[in-house]
């Protein structure tokens, strides 16, 4: 039961990886800690539930990682995906700390394993959690409980009282009752606002109504909003979100990774008008999968269809939903409720434009189209071998970039340039400082773990003084 008369040293808001890292490290530093997770227990853990690895620097092969992955290469990778929208000082600190945070997580009970099959060749750069993110969360929750962190589920914070950069109390609903939580410091680790469709509509209009949210429905951004309203400085483009094309039949929320589709480079993608709209073979899939959410979002009705033929069936991981199959393009058009004549024409034009070349799914091969607009620059083979297979595509939102600005101690910075007195942040809610654009597999968990532990320790130290 929640005891309203008690004052805690540290209030952690959120229940994902960053929140647990903060709660455990604050508790280990001697602070009394309360953690408020807005989800019920079965859905605890935010987007961490759907993750499976953490990108980590390492100087040589380990029991779970091959070769070496050094700071400069890691930084170059980050620089490339963000196009420079990052903070070098914070980013390099995160990169260096990842080599310490993986053993720290293992000490808290997280089990790592060598890379899985079909994971875009991450065995050198990413440490995988045995069983995935939910197994990681189970271990961290167990450790936090045993260490004496007071954990509440169904506990949503809707307002923080902030006066001149000083947090004085949190208004929350805990188990259906309105409560005021008192604490000397607060760590905000409650994620972005990607599950708040109304907020997304501010930037995307009614199209956002057709977006699918890949992760937790509890990322409503209420804490982010109350921090920004309370004078905290923001980072990251509020209009931007990470969006990939996922199976259009996925649930509105929480479909997770299994709804992804990797078939786009091996066939064609048409919109509701049965017409192609972008080069499906522009680059290798790991470098292109993250642009397709936006591409589909810009199509009428925010829907598209990926089509492959028999030759390509085995080249990608199966979808979580059954493939839509037909023996002819016309039959497929009927099943997809597309205009038959237009789809047949689109496929005919595409097939006629394919120039035979060496086909190699692993490299930028020489199979391309000629005289076709838009072109397909690699892996272009005619769709001529039945059966034909299609998957509907919709934009799947992973996370938003808007967040609060922090320094290297995870302390939130105020709009007037001063540091907050007792407000800290970790995880997606502050990752816009480091990841202003794009994404690097396993980097969200890297930021969450590193800043989680730092925020926990900083908050415990501040509470003591």
């Amino acid at each position: 039961m929640f005891d309203a008369s008690r004052q805690f040293d540290v209030l952690v808001i959120g229940g994902g990886n960053a929140a647990l890292c903060a709660a455990i490290s604050a508790r280990q530093a001697g602070a009394s800690v309360i953690l408020l997770e807005s989800a019920p227990k079965a859905f605890r853990g935010g987007n961490s539930r759907h993750t499976r690895n953490l990108r980590t620097m390492h100087e040589g092969p380990t029991d779970i990682l091959t070769e070496a992955y050094l700071e400069d290469e890691y930084w170059d990778d980050l620089l490339r995906v963000t196009g420079g929208r990052t903070d070098e000082k914070l980013a390099r600190m995160v990169i260096r700390e990842t080599s310490r945070v993986v053993p720290w997580l293992a000490k808290q009970g997280v089990v790592f394993q060598p890379s899985l099959t079909g994971t875009l060749s991450l065995s050198r750069t990413n440490a995988f959690f045995l069983g995935g993110g939910k197994a990681l969360l189970n271990a961290l929750y167990r450790t936090a409980e045993r260490a004496g962190v007071e954990i509440h589920y169904d506990a949503e914070v809707h307002r923080l009282r902030i006066e001149d950069g000083m947090f004085t109390g949190a208004e929350a609903t805990i188990g259906g009752f309105s409560e005021t939580v008192r604490a000397r410091t607060v760590v905000a680790a409650s994620g972005g606002f990607q599950a708040n469709i109304e907020w997304l509509k501010e930037y995307w209009g009614e199209a956002a109504g057709n977006f699918l949210i890949r992760g937790t429905p509890y990322a409503q951004g209420r804490v982010l909003r109350t921090l920004l309203d309370g004078g905290c400085a923001s980072v990251g483009d509020p209009t931007q979100c990470h969006a990939v094309a996922i199976d259009g039949r996925a649930p509105r929320f929480d479909g997770g990774l299994a709804t992804r589709l990797d078939c786009i480079p091996f066939g064609i993608v048409v919109n509701r008008e049965a017409k192609r709209f972008y080069d499906e073979g522009e680059d290798v899939w790991p470098k292109r999968y993250a642009i397709w959410g936006r591409l589909v979002a810009q199509q009428p009705g925010q829907i598209a269809y990926a089509i492959v033929d028999r030759k390509a069936e085995e080249l990608f991981l199966p979808s979580v939903y059954p493939p839509i199959r037909a023996e002819s393009i016309a039959e497929l058009a009927q099943k997809l409720e597309l205009d038959t004549a237009t789809l047949e024409q689109t496929v005919r034009d595409f097939n006629a434009a394919c120039r035979p070349g060496p086909f190699d799914p692993q490299t930028l091969d020489g199979s391309r189209t000629e005289g076709l607009e838009p072109p397909k620059t690699h892996w272009a083979r005619p769709l001529d071998t039945p059966r034909f297979t299609a998957f509907p595509l919709r934009p799947g939102i992973t996370f938003t970039y808007l967040g609060v600005k922090v320094d290297e101690t995870a302390r939130i910075q105020m709009q007037d340039g001063k540091p907050a007195a007792n407000l800290f942040a970790a995880g997606e809610i502050m990752s816009g400082s480091i990841l202003g654009k794009g994404y690097l597999a396993g980097f969200g968990m890297a930021i969450g773990s590193v800043f989680g532990t730092i925020a926990g320790r900083s908050a415990a130290r501040t509470a003591r003084n």
Binding site: Q113, G256, A258
Partner: protein
């Protein structure tokens, strides 16, 4: 309609709800694969794109019920995908026991298996005790017998060999036929010819219960916590059973080889093997029952619990009655204790092919097929 399509349609129509649910689960798992490190089921699943009935039966029997995947699953209920592999695979396994049982009419014994095991145990034991009571005089039955051949004054050696040999022989025959039917029906022949290396690998995995190791830290016996408890209890039960079997075998050797008749001294080899085996079986069977009582009921097929409890109780009774008989064999209670113990052993023999006991057979065959497929996939 083409022939192969008709076959698929007919097969689909004939499939049970559990099979269809297992396929639905695996189609989700195959797009996720986070659980790859837990056990052999997920790499075996990853070798497949589509799951026919034979594949699903194979994967279900390969599953050891460690439940690691359930607690790690981002799609477990109440998520709308409602993935619950341990539960649905247990149901598919139970259906496969019935489907490959021989002779086929006895497949029905797997419906309400708990009741069947309890009834057969009660009937066989009661019949033996009644028989002993009817056919031996009270002086013999309630007398004190010591020295060589003491047991055989109550039940003759010839009768013991006849009853034990007939029931055990039939149990083994029925399991061999069931195993062959299983191997054929699940399409295991597609994995190629049986060669020594996969056999050795399968035996290693079976004898160590490698797949209850959850990738190094044990399995989720009770809840989300990882322990080696279930694995160790199963080891106690299984190796205790083997020790008892070894006790009987050495006893047979003593009898026919050296002409020494039971009962043997407390420090003799058959007695030491039997006593230690009996104690281990009691610990194992009792512990596994305790786990069933305290475990989280969500990833468990509740309708199979009756049969599982019944077999554990039977094994516990067989072992504990043997221990009690050993302790009191020098008293006037020996006659009825012997009849009770032998009755339970015969009931176990009769039930070998028609209880949860057969899981050992099909699981071993699944481990063998998996070792063959894994070897072939590696090239």
């Amino acid at each position: 309609m083409p022939d192969d399509l008709r076959r698929i349609v007919e097969q689909a129509a004939a499939e049970s709800e559990a099979l269809r649910e297992a396929r639905r689960n695996f189609e989700i798992c195959n797009a996720c694969r986070y659980c790859e490190g837990y056990c052999a089921v997920f790499p075996a699943m990853g070798l497949r794109r589509e799951f026919d009935k034979g594949d699903l039966t194979h994967l279900a029997n390969l599953c050891h019920g460690c439940k690691g995947c359930y607690y790690a699953c981002q799609y477990a209920p109440p998520h709308p995908f409602a993935v619950n592999l341990p539960k649905v695979l247990a149901e598919v396994r139970a259906e496969s026991y019935a489907e490959h049982a021989w002779p086929q009419p006895l497949a029905r014994l797997f419906e309400r298996n708990g009741t069947v095991v309890a009834l057969v145990t009660a009937l066989v034991t009661a019949a033996l005790m009644l028989g002993v009571k009817l056919f031996s005089s009270p002086e013999v039955l309630y007398g004190v017998h010591t020295g060589e051949g003491a047991f055989y004054r109550v039940i003759s050696h010839g009768m013991m060999v006849l009853l034990g040999g007939a029931t055990f022989g039939f149990g083994i025959l029925a399991m061999v036929v069931g195993g062959l039917r299983y191997w054929r029906a699940t399409g295991a022949a597609r994995a190629g010819r049986i060669t020594p290396l996969p056999v050795a690998k399968a035996a290693h995995d079976a004898f160590t219960l490698k797949n209850l190791d959850g990738g190094g830290h044990g399995c989720n016996d009770r809840d989300g916590d990882f322990t080696q408890v279930k694995r160790r209890l199963h080891h106690a039960l299984f190796y205790g059973f083997l020790l008892c079997f070894a006790a009987t075998s050495t006893g047979t050797l003593y009898h026919y080889g050296f002409g020494w008749q039971a009962p043997y001294g407390y420090l003799s080899l058959p007695s030491l093997l039997g006593t230690s085996g009996g104690v281990l079986m009691c610990i194992g069977a009792g512990g596994l029952m305790w786990l069933k009582i305290v475990q989280d009921p969500e990833p468990v097929a509740r309708r199979l619990m009756g049969g599982e409890y019944a077999l554990l109780i039977l094994l516990f009774l067989v072992a504990s009655s043997g221990l009690v008989l050993t302790a009191f064999r020098g008293t006037s209670a020996m006659g009825m204790l012997l009849a009770f113990h032998i009755g339970l052993v015969l009931a176990l023999f009769v039930l070998l092919p028609y209880s949860k006991f057969v899981h050992g057979l099909y699981r071993s065959l699944a481990l063998l097929r998996n070792a063959m497929e894994t070897r072939r996939a590696r090239g």
